[in-house]
Every structure is written in C-alpha cells, then in structure tokens.
C-alpha cells in the first residue's frame, strides 16, 4: 500500500490568498500542499501566460504581473508541494478528494485545510445574455492574459465597481477597440474621493491605480457613462447590438432612456461573487453581505471557519480584492501554525501584528470603495421578460421559474421542478438569480433564501477517474 498522502496544511486555490499562505511566513516543519485547478499559479488576478509563451520583459506587463510573479516565486521557493492542474472534488473532515487532469482521483489527509478558492464574475441574467459574444470580464481577461487574444472587434463594457475602470483600461492598453464603458453607479463625488483618501493612508498604490485607469480611458477617448446598465443584447447567432438604459440609485431602469450600440462584443463586469462550493461542502457557516459578493464564509480573527480544521482566506470570505487576500492568507498560515503547535501564541501575535495593521487599512479602503460602488437590487430585475433564459445549462426560462416559485419558496423544490441549476455549471450561474426571484415572489431578501443542498462533486469529473470499489466491498451483496 502506498504511503497515505498527508499534509499539515492543504491550501485550495493558488491565487493571492493561497500563494501568500503557502509562502514562507509559516515556520518550517509544516508540510504544505497548494492545489490549483489551473496549470499555472496566480489565480485570476495574477493569471500567467499559457504554455508556449515566453516573457522577455516582465516589467512591460505591468505592476500586477510583477506582484504576482513575486508571490508565485515565493511559493515555489517555500518547499510546498505545488499541485497544479488539480481540482478538489470533495471535503469531509480531514479527508479531501483531489483529482489531477486525466488521472484517477485520490483521497488525501489535510490536518488543516485553507479554502482560498476566490471569486468568480457575478452572473447577470438579461435578455440575450447567453448569446455568443457576451462574456464576463474574467473570461475576457483570461483570453488576454493567457493567450494574448482580444475578445472582439468592437467592445462594449458594462459593469460597476473598481473593475469598471480598470478592466476596460487594461483592454484598451492591449489595443482593443473599446467603444463604450457603462458604469451602473454614480460618478465619483469629491466627498467620496476625500473619504477614500482619508481611508487610504498606506493605500496610495491603490488610489494611484484608480487614477491611472481613469486617465488611460480619457487619453484613449473611450466614453465612460455613469448610471447606465445593460438591458438587452441582440443579434442573429451572436451579438450585433447592445441596448442600455439609465438607472436610478437602486440600479432600476428609468423608462424611456434606452439607447442601442452596434458592437460585436459585450463584456460584463458587475463585480464578483465568492466561490462557495468548497466551504459549503465542508459545512462552514456563512453570513450574507451583498456588497462583498453575497454569501461570505464566517471566520474568526485567525481566518478559522466554524469548522475547526477548516480555514478560509481571500475573496471567498468576502470580495475585497487581492491586497486584502494576500494578508488574509498570511494570517491564516500563522493561525494554522499555532493550531498545529508549530508556533507559540506570543510569536504568532507578534508576526500577525503588522499584517493586521495593513489589513485594517486595506479593509477601510475596500469599505470606502464599496460605498461608492454599492450593488443595486435592480441587478436582479434585468431578467424581466418571461422568455429570458435564467438557467443557461438547462435552458430554463423566467416564466417556467415563476410557475415553480409560485408553488414553493424552497430552492430545492424549484430546482427539482424546473431542472434549473442541475447542469454543467452546477448552479453557479443561476442560483443567486433564482434566490432573488424567490425573495421577490415571497417577500424577504435574497439573503433569507436558503441555497439548495450542497452536493458532491465540486467539479464535474469523469466516472472513470473516480471509480473505486471500497475496501470492504459494498458493491456485492453477501
């Protein structure tokens, strides 16, 4: 029998939080594994170029790239086992099931598990959102960062939050024809900027980034329009036009303000939502905060979840960006080290003090940003037409969901009746929208609608990769 694969700390997710946790802030003596489903580390924000690309001038790729390289190199030097191309399928106690691309799944033991799976683009359903040519900011970023491919010839970017400036600016920097940028929120007022500046001592870099992106768009003469939202994408087989409209403070469409733009690509960036599959499977408790992405894992001061052996860091505990994620990852690593007896409490407090101080500043900045870019409830009301597809995997339309929701407010019942959420994306794209429809029909808020029961596997996986007859054969009747 092979030696059982055991880690003192298994980190799920190779983005900023996971990389920082695996890097050498943890004292030696702990065996660390770092899992990421992509073949390169860095996560979404520090996504590396695909195989076959050689970077000759790293500085030319910008400060984010350099920050990411530094984190990756630190993790590589740390002695942690780097398990790339590997997905987590299941979590139960200290048992974690991993599968590497094309290989049989295996169960490893993780004395402590750090969930740092990050966030994904907030899915937004509206008529035409499933047309080819509509893509998320994350998807477009992957094309650009890993393959140097531009998503289309004429791009409309619609979104909100810091990314609504940063991403089109980046795209423009890569030579993309960004025709129009829509921000659902208001233009920044002097008071907001002042508040941010007050919150920002020590965050000069972040403010500088925002200013830089804004200036870049202005220089490129890319029109930026505030308080407008996408309402419809149309075209024969792919996007040919996008209609947008003015919104009020709640992001509700103001009638009679529609305008249509002829573009072939619609890129959406309405912020991010935490990836909740793994913490839900692990049984962690959640809080709800729409402005940090919705369902956020509850953690204590050492980033420990309500399941004692499971920690969480980064956007999964509330979307606050890469700077916060890095420090949360460091804090979690220190917490795990104390937990496993590799570090005494006094040293841990000392090591954590500067991290906590930085975190406090960066969180204050993130809070100020959130005040400027609060998500409006109107985001859930764009799928107003009965024919709008809400669950794209199973092609379930709004009208079908309305019928089911009229008879039950239980998300499991609605799922069973309509098949919405049973497809390949396992509900990632439609679950929140359906929760919002349930809340609207039965009263209450999205936060009050219990999500459908979490079920294995966290990622689709070939039966041949997981097949294994148990040691005591339950497969044959005696």
């Amino acid at each position: 029998l092979a030696e059982p694969e055991t880690y003192d700390l298994l980190v799920a997710g190779g983005g900023p939080a996971g990389l920082a946790a695996a890097a050498p802030t943890a004292p030696p003596g702990l065996s660390v594994g770092l899992v990421d489903e992509r073949i390169t580390l860095g996560g979404q924000i520090y996504k590396q170029m695909g195989p076959g690309f050689i970077v000759r001038d790293p500085a030319a790729l910008g400060p984010d790239y350099l920050r990411g390289r530094a984190l990756i190199e630190a993790a590589q030097a740390s002695g942690a086992a780097l398990l790339t191309g590997t997905s987590v399928l299941a979590v139960s106690g200290e048992e974690v099931v991993l599968v590497r691309d094309g290989e049989p799944a295996r169960t490893v033991t993780a004395r402590r598990l750090l969930l740092a799976a990050g966030a994904h683009d907030r899915p937004v359903a509206f008529p035409g959102w499933t047309l080819p040519g509509v893509l998320t900011a994350g998807g477009a970023q992957t094309l650009v960062k890993t393959q140097r491919v531009l998503p289309g010839a004429a791009i409309l970017f619609a979104g909100s939050g810091p990314l609504a400036l940063a991403f089109p600016a980046q795209l423009h920097g890569y030579g993309a024809n960004v025709q129009l940028v829509l921000e659902a929120g208001p233009p920044p007022r002097p008071a907001d900027v002042a508040r941010m500046a007050a919150a920002a001592p020590g965050n000069v870099g972040l403010l500088r980034d925002a200013v830089r992106y804004r200036a870049q768009l202005l220089r490129g003469r890319v029109p930026l329009r505030y308080r407008r939202i996408v309402v419809r994408a149309e075209g024969d087989g792919r996007v040919e036009s996008v209609t947008h409209a003015a919104v009020d403070a709640d992001w509700r469409v103001v009638p009679g303000t529609e305008e249509t733009a002829a573009v072939d690509t619609l890129c959406l960036g309405y912020g991010f939502v935490p990836s909740v599959e793994l913490p839900r499977l692990a049984g962690c408790a959640f809080a709800y905060d729409e402005h940090r992405g919705g369902p956020v894992v509850r953690v204590d001061e050492w980033m420990r979840t309500t399941v004692p052996t499971v920690f969480a860091a980064g956007d999964g505990t509330g979307v606050e960006g890469s700077y916060v994620a890095v420090d949360e990852g460091r804090l979690a690593a220190i917490g795990v080290a104390v937990d496993l007896g590799a570090l005494d409490a006094a040293s841990a407090r000392e090591a954590a003090a500067p991290v906590r101080a930085r975190l406090a500043r960066k969180r204050a900045f993130a809070r100020a940003l959130r005040r400027m870019h609060a998500i409006g409830p109107g985001i859930y009301e764009l799928a107003g037409d009965p024919q709008t597809v809400v669950c794209r995997c199973e092609e379930v339309r709004r009208a079908t969901l309305d019928d089911a929701i009229a008879s039950s407010r239980d998300a499991n019942v609605v799922k069973g009746l309509t098949r919405a959420g049973m497809g390949l994306c396992q509900g990632r794209n439609c679950q929140r929208q359906i929760a919002a429809l349930i809340a609207a029909a039965h009263g209450g808020s999205v936060a009050d609608v219990a999500a459908a029961t979490p079920r294995l596997p966290a990622r689709p996986v070939a039966l041949g990769q997981i097949a294994r007859v148990p040691d005591e054969d339950m497969g044959r009747f005696q």
Partner: protein, 409 residues
C-alpha cells in the same frame, strides 16, 4: 431541446399548487392523513374520490423526501433485497409480491389517463444482470417464479444478450429481460395525486407537523399539530421513513429502520441505452433519463442528518457506485459525474410493507411501503383506501400488519 418538449415540461410545474401552508385546518375530519409523499397523496386521492372527508397534513413541503428523491424506476422483477432465505423458502411471499407488482404496473400504465396529467411514464423494459454462474442460476429460479405470478420475463445469454444490450461489459454473463419495466417522473407523480385529491375536496396543508396523537374514549383521535388541534375519526400514518416516530405516539412499535441512499447523476449524453439496468448480485440500478443523463444508484448508503438537513452524500459511495456502473456498462468511464443526491428511505426488517389498520389501536392505520416503494405505493394506497371505504373489500395480507413485531433487530 425541442419546443414542444419544453412546453410539456412547463405544464407540469403548477402541480404543486395543491399545497397550501395557509389552508384552513378543519377542527374535525373523518380521516387525517399524515405525510405528503406519494403514499399520503395517493391515499388522499382515493379516499376523497370515494367521498370520504379527508385532511392531509405535511411537515415540510409535498413530495420532498423519498417520494421526490428516488429515481422513479418502475421495478417489477424480484430484486435480491427481497430475498430473506432462498427462492424456494421465500416462494409464497415472493409470488404474492410479484402478483402485486403486476397490478402496480397496470395501475402506473393507466395513471396518466386516470389522473388526466403527466407522470412521464416510459415503458423501456428492464434488465437484471448476472455475472457469475451462481447468479445466473438465481436468474433462472427467479424467472420461473415470475412466470408463475404472471410477470413476463426472459432469461438472455450469449448472443441474445449482446444483441439486446451491446453496451454491457464482458463481466455480464446473463440477464433477465422484463418488457414491462420503465420509469416515471417522481417529481410530478406525487404532486399530481395531491392536486387531484384537492380537486375531489381533500384539504392539503403543508408546513404542519404532528406533535401528538391521542386515542379518545369512544373512538377517534385528538391530533395536536403545529397549526392547531384536529379531531379525526381515523388516522393514517403515511410518514414514510419517519413512520415509526408517528406510530410511537400511539404506542405502536414498527419493525423498521431508516437509511439514506446515494445516487450519482452524470452530464447528458447521446442515447446509449433505453432500459433500466439492475444487478442480481451487486449494488446497481442504472438508467439514462429522457434528457440523456445517467442516473446511477442501487443501494449505496449516505449519512443520516437531522431534519431539515438533507442526507449527506459521501465519497465512498460516490466512487463505489461509479465502479460498479463502469464494470457493467464500460462506456460510462468517460461520462462526467455532475451531481450526487441522496434520499432517505425506510426499510422493514422482514422486507414486507406496513399497510393496514392496527387491531391494538382501532382507527389507526399505517401506509408505509419500502421495498420498491415507489412502484408499489399507489397500488397499496388503493388497497388500503378500499379497506377504509368499502365493506367486504379484499383483506390485506396479515404479513403487512402494523401490529407485527417483525424479526429482532
């Protein structure tokens, strides 16, 4: 998906309209049915249709437990879990169960017309696979009993088997083929019964738990629910996996236990197989649903969790279930698992269902059907309803009595 199929699907969704968490709970009724699964709904339908005053209460929502978390297979062939001893020693009981299964199939086949609504009945036929010579002998003995009971099955081997089922792997040595087997949609059949029960005047009230049942001097029961007191001349315990708890409220001990069952569901694929696939010696039930997904189960356990949490699916069953499925149908190896789910089922220690009136607590009835429970429940609900509404209706087998203690645990 084609447009007509979509429209058909949409038409089913308002079925749950029968359920009401705010229906007025009457102060008294002739029959109080406890449990909103397919058992309670089918019985309420049959009773209401016969003109009986009936109220159904359900703790959660209709059809949420075993009735809505099974795979909807209409299993008619004798399965290995029905066997207590050998086919020879168990013959009388198995004959009776198989005769009932034939009647159950007839009822399911006619149900869409009777209820004037969809249950998505697909008669696909079913195969029961054997790997070893011993298992193949079991199939032959089983086929003889089934023939005697009036259920048509055929033993297939060699070329005949490969021709019928070219997707079977090399380990399959023989199979019985039962043309009448198939599947229904368990998400709509139970709610359709409930809707028709309501059409016939039954009161259906969800979100209403039962807290105590007190037999009254002079007959009848005082039932304390979460929504007030109901006086009922008769009570039917149709609480499925929780029937023992409801029976204990009147001092009865049912010979049953509870178990969670694991199911693997894959991505949809092009049509590979039509029939239900079961195994005579291994934990496997398998079919390819109308949308192309493979639904794979067969008795792999899942962990119990208290209500309202659902049973937790675990990795050992996920992986073991997959292994057996690939062994029997090798082409499944590259099909991706999308989801797992688990329902909870009751089981009796003597394999027989619990159906009938208690002699010890007159007026207290149980309708709890477990082995092939989904297939057999409507026909047994009908038999119990006949008992409750018609003098001289055929007696239910003594083996089904709620007063039996059953074999020791």
């Amino acid at each position: 998906m084609s447009a007509p199929a979509m429209a058909h699907r949409d038409a089913r969704i308002p079925l749950l309209a029968a359920q009401r968490a705010d229906a007025v709970l009457p102060a008294s009724t002739d029959v109080l049915v406890i449990g909103g699964g397919v058992a309670g709904a089918a019985l309420a339908y049959d009773l209401a249709r016969a003109g009986t005053d009936v109220v159904l209460v359900e703790r959660g929502e209709l059809n949420r437990e075993a009735s809505g978390t099974n795979a909807g297979s209409i299993h008619l062939q004798i399965a290995i879990h029905q066997l207590m001893g050998t086919f020879a020693t168990d013959a009388p009981r198995l004959l009776e169960e198989t005769r009932l299964a034939v009647r159950a199939a007839e009822m399911w086949h006619a149900l869409e017309d009777e209820l004037d609504g969809p249950v998505d009945m697909h008669v696909t036929g079913g195969l029961m696979i054997a790997d070893t010579d011993d298992e193949a002998e079991l199939l032959v003995a089983k086929q003889r009993l089934e023939a005697e009971a009036g259920l048509e099955t055929f033993v297939l081997e060699g070329d005949a088997l490969r021709e019928r089922a070219p997707y079977l792997g090399p380990s399959a040595r023989a199979a019985t083929w039962c043309p009448l087997e198939g599947h229904v949609n368990p998400l709509v059949a139970g709610p359709l019964f409930a809707l028709r029960a309501a059409d016939h005047g039954a009161t259906i009230r969800t979100g209403t738990d039962v807290r105590s049942i007190t037999p009254l001097d002079g007959g009848g029961f005082r039932v304390q629910t979460g929504a007030g007191v109901v006086h009922a001349a008769r009570v039917v315990n149709a609480a499925g996996a929780w029937a023992a708890e409801l029976a204990a409220m009147v001092g009865l001990t049912l010979p049953m236990f509870r178990m969670g069952l694991h199911v693997n569901v894959t991505e949809p694929r092009a049509r590979l197989l039509e029939p239900l696939i079961q195994h005579i010696g291994r934990r496997l039930t398998l079919k390819q649903a109308a949308n192309g997904s493979f639904i794979i189960g067969g008795g792999w356990p899942s962990r119990e969790a208290p209500v309202p949490q659902r049973y937790t699916t675990g990795w050992t069953s996920t992986a073991g279930n997959a292994a057996v499925a690939i062994d029997v149908v090798p082409a499944l190896a590259d099909v991706r698992l999308l989801r797992t789910w688990s329902g909870v089922m009751g089981w009796t220690r003597d394999v027989a269902p619990i159906v009938g009136e208690s002699a010890r607590v007159p007026g207290y009835h149980v309708l709890a059907v477990f082995s092939s429970g989904y297939t057999m429940t409507p026909i047994l609900a009908r038999a119990l309803a006949a008992q409750m509404t018609t003098t001289g209706a055929p007696a239910l087998p003594a083996a089904y009595s709620p007063d039996r203690e059953g074999p020791p645990t």
